[in-house]
């Protein structure tokens, strides 16, 4: 049956998550008519339960399960073994997407992240670039993105303490951050006993701890309450709307203009293109019926895996290898943050039960190019972070630090004493793209509609192992200084699916090596824009969302300014 042809709109946005749900706001304010297609539905605050099984173990059984029907596969190298395929997708469907339940850490990247390649060559020589890496400087500088970081921080609401306002360094913030035009819109989330313990230890080591920035209200903001610190924020939705997902910030603001039509339960299966290579709209399924939403411009705003997959599945005369893939770049330059943590066991209760994982202590002394890398065997580095919020299943599933059996009465006595006495330090390292890390379509595994799922080909390079080991040593030093009596380090292994997945539709000036241009528009299909971390060329050492949102706003602004040349 032919799809139902809907009336044409100015812009169709595919995916109303952190990126798409943000970009709609500047677009509707400019008077453009937007249709937002979202695979999931709406949630109310009362849908968000303090329930670890539901949120963290079973990953939202009450949500639309599209993502869980399309879980990518992963393998360790082109000829390597498969990596475990989880039962649940790390991201979710819903109006607001995974910003409904993310940790809400809202860091900016730094000047260095945008030009890691040229800065590394300048300071350490070309041989310092890891072998096989396809890293390029971004086509955007920090200075160009700064106004958009600022817009996003104020539009959604970010709590934090600036360390560098127009060059004035404030030691109560992050002294390593790149310069910003003004202070955060809200003060940082409050301190807590354990966070303060770690901050004091860092200061004794002469490091520079700070409260990490979070898209969570530390004080009432935009007519919504301050955080209740109830302790189910990580993978949990906020029951009081204090977490600033796009579902409670930019999407309702955009809807209030009357220019945004949200279409929930719309499962996009392809983007159509004409023979000239221009995209014409999106095809989607809703309640088993197929629709075609024509649009002058298409903004693809799914998660990294899904952006790549939709492009590869959208074949046409103009794009026989998949949309915007005539240069064979879709899926390449994939990377993710490694899972890198060090657990410390303390001889006293840490009382981390409540709070949020965005509340804690962080430091950047060993991140980016903040120290001399001569001889260390890697470029970049890591951010170190300790957080509040230890939910009970997670707390009891602790390492036994070699001190007890893993079950039975001995284990029970051990967790009785120690489940509240351990904490992880997370060490997110900067990762870089490599020629043999990529996304494509799995040749065998399909979703229930019969479309192949995305496949990850990944690995762990020696430079990444070196960076992870280096950061683990710093994490151990920090924990021991704070009083930890035992340490357990996560193994250095490649990971498959990640909530921090980058690349696949990389942004860059050269169409031979990038899918989108400096503004986020396809080098091949001029009226196709791509939003999300899939456009990022390096990961940075921090959570991606704020950068994704700043880029999304910038792409939207460009579209508004260049509407005639892009859309007509």
């Amino acid at each position: 049956m032919a799809p139902v042809n809907l009336p044409k709109t100015d812009v169709v946005v595919i995916g109303l998550g952190a990126a798409g749900g943000l970009a709609v706001l500047p677009l509707v304010r400019a008077g453009l008519k937007i249709v937002g297609l979202e695979a999931g539905g709406w949630f109310r605050p009362s849908d968000h339960h303090p329930d670890e099984i539901r949120n963290n173990i079973r990953h939202w059984p009450h949500a639309v399960q599209k993502a869980n029907h399309e879980i990518p596969t992963a393998r360790d190298g082109r000829n390597g073994p498969p990596l475990p395929r989880p039962l649940y997708h790390p991201m979710m469907n819903g109006v607001g997407g995974t910003s409904l339940h993310y940790w809400a850490q809202s860091w900016r990247l730094t000047e260095w992240d945008f030009k890691a390649r040229s800065e590394t060559i300048r300071r350490y020589g070309a041989s310092a670039i890891p072998e096989g890496s396809t890293v390029e400087d971004w086509p955007v500088s920090y200075e160009e993105l700064e106004p958009y970081y600022d817009k996003v921080e104020y539009a959604i609401g970010v709590s934090g303490k600036a360390g560098n306002v127009q060059g004035a360094i404030d030691k109560s913030g992050n002294i390593f951050e790149s310069t910003r035009q003004r202070e955060y819109p809200m003060p940082a989330l409050r301190g807590a006993g354990f966070a303060d313990l770690m901050a004091n230890a860092a200061k004794r080591l002469r490091w520079h701890p700070y409260n990490p920035p979070a898209a969570i209200n530390s004080v009432p903001y935009d007519k919504r309450t301050a955080c209740f610190y109830h302790g189910f924020c990580g993978s949990g939705g906020c029951p009081v709307n204090a977490k600033n997902s796009t579902a409670v910030t930019t999407i309702p603001q955009a809807m209030a203009t009357g220019n945004l039509k949200v279409v929930p339960y719309a499962h996009v299966i392809a983007i159509e293109a004409d023979v000239h290579g221009r995209v014409t709209g999106a095809r989607y399924l809703s309640d088993k019926k197929e629709y075609f939403q024509p649009a002058s411009v298409v903004l693809l705003a799914g998660y990294s895996y899904e952006n790549t997959r939709v492009l590869l599945l959208s074949k046409s005369k103009a794009y026989p290898r998949g949309l915007s893939n005539n240069h064979g770049q879709v899926g390449l330059h994939y990377m993710s943050h490694t899972r890198n943590g060090v657990m410390g066991l303390f001889p006293f209760d840490l009382n981390r039960w409540y709070g949020t994982p965005a509340q804690g202590t962080s430091l950047d002394d060993w991140a980016d190019d903040n120290f001399d890398h001569a001889g260390v065997g890697f470029i970049g580095g890591g951010n170190l972070l300790v957080t509040m919020e230890a939910k009970p299943i997670e707390a009891a599933s602790m390492s036994t630090f070699g001190k007890a059996p893993r079950w039975g009465s001995g284990w029970k006595a051990f967790v009785k004493e120690n489940a509240g006495r351990w904490a992880p330090v997370w060490a997110q390292i900067s990762t870089f793209p490599f020629e043999d890390h990529f996304l494509d379509l799995d040749p065998e595994v399909k979703d229930p509609l019969g479309y192949p799922v995305c496949r990850l080909t990944v690995g762990l390079k020696e430079s990444e192992r070196s960076a992870m080991r280096f950061m683990q040593e710093k994490a151990e030093q920090w924990l021991r200084e704070a009083g930890a009596i035992a340490i357990d380090k996560l193994p250095l292994v490649p990971i498959g699916l990640s909530t921090h997945a980058y690349g696949g539709t990389r942004m860059g000036h050269d169409p031979e090596t990038n899918v989108v241009n400096a503004w986020g528009f396809s080098h091949e299909a001029p009226n196709l824009g791509i939003l999300g971390a899939s456009t990022m060329g390096t990961s940075g050492a921090r959570n991606p969302t704020l950068t994704v949102q700043a880029l999304a706003w910038r792409t939207a602004d460009h579209l508004i300014k260049e509407w005639k040349s892009i859309a007509e």
Binding site: S46, D47, H49, P50, D51, E52, I53, R54, I57, R58, P61, H62, L87, R190, A192, G193, F194, L197, F228, Y229, H230, G231, P239, F348, D349, L350, N351, W353, Y354, G355, M388, P392, I393, A395, A396, S397, R406, W407, G408, S409, W411, K412, A413, V415, K416, A419, G420
Partner: protein, 192 residues
Amino acid sequence: MAGSAATIVCAFVPASALRFAGTSTPKVLTPKERHCLQATVSRIIPADANGPGALEAGCAVYVESALRDAYRSQKPAYSAGLAALDSCAITRHGKVFAALDVAKQNQILSDFERSTRVGEYADSAFFFEMVRRHTLEGMFGDPSYGGNANFAGWDLIGYPGLRMYVNPDLERLNAAIPRSRVSADQLLHGSR
């Protein structure tokens, strides 16, 4: 079978609607499988001087309820693993696993944990880790799923319980925090 209608319904209702799952009579496992599961969770977290164990806290009920809906795809792995435990027990000692004394049960589980090949059954370590993980979920998860009866799990590790609003004092080191002793459903909708 009787359980399949419930399976389909459960897939579309929110977990909060399943608060009676723990008190109904789940019929996913055979009586033999259920006895074996009960003995296994008892060894993973035994009742002892430190309080109730996994069986007393309802972890076997938790697992069986889950196998009826959220974990129904893992039911074959449970049936195979529980059969392998019984088969190993019979081969070694002439009795099913649940009928063995604690030391013999522990030895068999320990062999499973270390991935010892048990007859034709090759997934012993996988099975052990799965049951251990699910036992911990039952013990320390929200009581509405059938485990953590009387908050036995949360009391064991000193988890002070669910609160909607957390005063800053409750995040200090050494804070003395009264136990709240409510499930998520009770917190959101009041006591029942």
